[in-house]
Amino acid sequence: MTAYDDPYLAGVGLGAVLLGAYVVVGHGLGASGAFASVVAAGTAAAVGTARASALPAVAPYLPQGITSFLRDWFVLELVGVALGGFCSAWLAGRLRARVERGPRVNNAQRMYAALVGGVLMGVGAKFARGCTSGQALTGGALLSAGGWIFIATCFVSAYVVAPFARRLWQ
């Protein structure tokens, strides 16, 4: 397994990709929106497209009915993210089927924490209209007020909670 790249260089590369997105498609990256799209499709599958489209939270993600997520830019982007991550790891010999965790918890505990963390992030990202990719990175680079509010509150709250969750990571 090779060591990770210089974080600054990786960051510049990431920034170049983001800039490329602004230039080519006029908007930045995103991730949480793609997840919401998938949830909308799932909702339509569960209760029928008509009922799902009547829900104000879900309707915006179903412009073309249940198959909208297949045409959602951000869903297609995330497919690329997975592929890009896979290829990079593969070439560097970093592919590993495992659970990554801190030394003091076992796999089950880590998986449970990951799930809970995911639920909180899902809720938080909806209120914030984005996540670290869409708001912090994309919005932040455009000096969006909401983006910077998100950066500040997200980082501060993570630092505040960290001492209480030491067991998870240290």
Binding site: L55, G80, A114, G118
Partner: protein, 193 residues
């Protein structure tokens, strides 16, 4: 102005969708290169043991910010046509706080969870599952929180709009802040050794 390509008609709607996975590929590639598909590394940021998250995120932010600013200055990119997210002060502050807690507990964010899952990390899959659940939970509560959700809307404003300074001044300040942060990070790491 030649860009954004989708707004100047150089790229149609099909093309726009075709480039999505390409752009995503670059995104995922560099995230993995920087080690951000590895949850313990991400969490280390908040124990100040591993400052990778800060370094990657802010060098990416500054790169894109400076690039966009200067391309607009020389007339190649029309920043007015680039989508700026809307600001909803209180919901985004609360959302950020909740997200931050989740980020710390889960160790991965939405984008990096995809990288983690794609490289075999099962915890990545758990985070993804959690996020889908969280969004579904939000959807069910939506009626009750809709008013709060739409409150304190300021539109697609930027910090420089609110502060009444030029965009260039804002860009300069953020760059200075990031470079200072990088210098502080370097010092912190030197002291640790």
């Amino acid at each position: 102005m030649t860009a954004p390509l989708t707004e100047t008609g150089a790229l149609g709607s099909v093309g726009e969708l075709l480039v999505a996975p390409l752009i995503g590929f670059g995104f995922g590639w560099f995230l993995e290169r920087g080690g951000l598909g590895h949850a313990p590394k991400l969490a280390g940021q908040f124990y100040l043991t591993d400052l990778t998250v800060f370094k990657v995120m802010f060098s990416a932010l500054v790169t894109a910010m400076l690039g966009a600013f200067w391309l607009d200055q020389i007339g190649l990119l029309d920043l007015r046509l680039v989508y700026v997210p809307e600001t909803f002060v209180v919901p985004q502050a609360i959302g950020g706080m909740v997200f931050g807690v989740g980020f710390l507990i889960g160790g991965l964010c939405p984008g990096t969870s995809c990288v983690a899952a794609a490289t075999g990390r099962l915890d990545g899959l758990a985070v993804i599952g959690g996020m889908l659940t969280g969004i579904a939970v939000f959807n069910t509560m939506f009626d009750r929180i809709a008013r709060f959700y739409e409150s304190t809307a300021l539109g697609a404003v930027t910090l420089t709009d609110l502060a009444g300074v030029s965009r260039g001044t804002g860009v300069a300040c953020v760059t200075a802040m990031a470079l200072t942060g990088f210098a502080l990070a370097a010092r912190m790491e030197r002291l640790r050794r």
